[in-house]
Symmetry: C2
Subunit: 387 residues, 2 copies
């Protein structure tokens, strides 16, 4: 169900098509995040207009709200939220770690308390797969443990052992009809653990392979190091998904290292917070310097916001806390990310990806005013990715 | 510039067309409120799709934010907000009264403090008209004083005298090219004052006549009494605008009494607060009873929300504080109001307005559980209108 149309000659990049229950996904692709059954501030129609091919849903959030009773009665997440294209669901593991109050770990998963109401809950591979089955996502993710950073090799190894056991359990669970399941590669920054993880997860026979644990604390340089190490080891016949990443520059670095799929809250969250992506980096649209700027956020941009509104107007909306301000920046930022990936796909097809990649990589760090690691040519300070 | 196409035989209702700088407005019409340069939660495109003919902008709010410097440089309010159809601006008088911290009244207007930052400001007929000229609205309103309720005859008379003097000043002020100016009838609940007001405002030669001060405290029964008294006195050749009104039922009562134009924050504000209009009254979509209700808000409704989403989903969005929830209910409620007025126009054309009016009037009070005044057949409790 994954077909590579063309390999990039300059990198590990590939142009592919992933077939799912709800249609094909042209890769490399960016997936907008629809945490709790809606891509924040967007309507499904607007997502269609941006040519969004696939969105992400969060198992942890959806399990708390609206809960699986309602999703089951609605006939699955697609029907519930009125989205007829592919959905990938994460396993919930990352949110149990990052959002919930974590309790005892058992061989079967984690006890934790809901971040919403403190309710005591338990989630492990069996629970996660059951929820994702009810959600009816096109792609389900295995339940993994995310290590924090920095972490010792021993801790990372123990965590990886749990993850691998849990992934094997996930593999055995019943799935929704036609649901794909992707395994997750962990191992933190340790190359031997990443290699072991890739090899064992591959052996389990999943439909795709994700790289997890790269956006939780290390610098971009560390992330790229992991990516570069993994790139030649990842099974070429499977789609590769880099979880929770990242900035436009990081998407390019991912593609160069064979990544086919990305998701990140950056475009939507930054948009709601008043930041707009441009080829020169993000701009804070609320800033006084845009008060009388009657030009669009980005000249030449084809999105609804740039085609119809000025920075001065959007700044006014943001300052007056008007919903339309958040909406317009979300539309623009998602368009920016989706358009970047469209250009990536075209450039791989046309054999010009190296130029596009060089341009994006050269442009961003300088414009963002962040220090660059001369060896890896990457931004050292990765704070933006976690905004 | 106002043409009556047909008079309703059962009431003072009329079907008309008002020509403005930005096109014709088919009346009777409801005008969504775009307080600060945006109809809250809506994009201009969505307003077009709802066949919104004209919107309202608030002079008081726009003068504070973004301020007239920016509006002037943007080339007026239409260009600033990307709306190419008619805009009516109020005079700011009502907000100075209801929102700002009111200071000293002088023969030329009011001293007041901004509700946003406490800034000391002054507004009277000259200032208001200058602002509206800068905004470039298609229809400007005269600067009036709103009396509170209840009020003595003497106070209402004194206030009316100020208003009439100010309206005469407004009449003399320069206008934007092609801008229409409507006079406002005040006089509170006192028939002699309302009659005097109509006669003197008419004599000033405005392009339209508004009835003010009917949604600031009295019951619906009192409002209807004022409307019924004014209906035969209003100059037939002018468009009649009932300011700040109201519920669907009140729109019908207005049309029956010769009103051509209405504005109200109800559909947008109620939508953001989780209430949806239906032919049986408003429903609180957050309520637990809609948790597993997989039907649209209103069967047969042609709006985007009802065509694509269920109550259960919208309830979930509202409970999770998702922007899309507010958006969908705003779309539905505006569609409901605009569609009601479309049906009003068609029924006047077809000679069936009496049936439509009887149906809406009969339906609402009961469904809304409000006490009805048997003599006027109106809801006594008018709180909804100020929500």
């Amino acid at each position: 169900m994954f077909k590579i149309l063309k390999n990039d000659s300059s990198s590990f990049g590939r142009r592919g098509v992933l077939s799912t229950n709800h249609g094909d996904v042209q890769t490399p692709i960016f997936m907008p995040v629809g945490t709790v059954g809606t891509v924040k501030a967007m309507s499904p129609r607007e997502l269609h207009e941006l040519q969004t091919q696939i969105i992400l849903g969060n198992t942890y959030h959806l399990n708390l709200r609206p809960g699986m009773d309602i999703i089951r009665k609605a006939g699955g997440l697609h029907k519930f939220m009125g989205w007829d294209r592919p959905i990938l669901t994460d396993s919930g593991g990352f949110q149990v770690f990052s959002l919930a109050k974590l309790g005892k770990k058992t061989p079967d998963g984690f006890h934790f308390q809901s971040h919403l109401n403190g309710e005591h809950l338990f989630m492990g591979p069996v629970e996660s797969m059951a929820i994702q089955r009810t959600l009816g996502s096109d792609i389900a993710m295995t339940f993994d443990e995310c290590t924090s950073y920095p972490v010792t090799w021993e801790t990372a190894r123990d965590s990886l052992e749990s993850t691998l056991r849990w992934e094997a359990r996930c593999r055995e669970q019943p799935r929704a009809d036609g649901q794909l399941v992707f395994g997750i590669v962990q191992g933190n920054v340790f190359e031997d653990l990443r290699a072991k993880s890739i090899s064992e997860v591959h052996a389990m026979g999943f439909d795709g392979m994700a790289i997890g644990g790269v956006s939780v604390g290390e610098s971009e340089a560390e992330m790229v190091k992991v990516l570069k190490f993994c790139a030649p080891l990842l099974p070429k016949e499977l789609p590769h998904y880099l979880m929770g990443v990242g900035t436009p520059r990081q998407l390019i670095l991912g593609v160069m290292n064979g990544i086919d799929m990305f998701d990140c809250v950056l475009p939507t969250r930054m948009g709601r917070n008043g930041s707009a992506y441009t080829p020169e980096g993000t701009i804070p649209v609320k800033a006084a310097r845009y008060k009388e700027d009657f030009t669009p956020i980005m000249e030449g941009c084809q999105c609804y916001a740039c085609q119809n509104f000025t920075k001065a107007y959007i700044r006014h909306l943001l300052n007056a806390d008007e919903i339309l301000g958040a909406r317009l920046l979300t539309i623009h930022n998602l368009h920016f990310f989706l358009d970047l990936m469209r250009r990536v796909r075209e450039s791989i097809e046309q054999g010009t990806f190296a130029e596009l990649a060089a341009d994006v990589i050269a442009r961003y760090p300088e414009a963002m005013g962040k220090p660059i690691d001369p060896e890896t040519n990457t931004i050292i300070d990765n704070r933006n990715a976690k905004n």
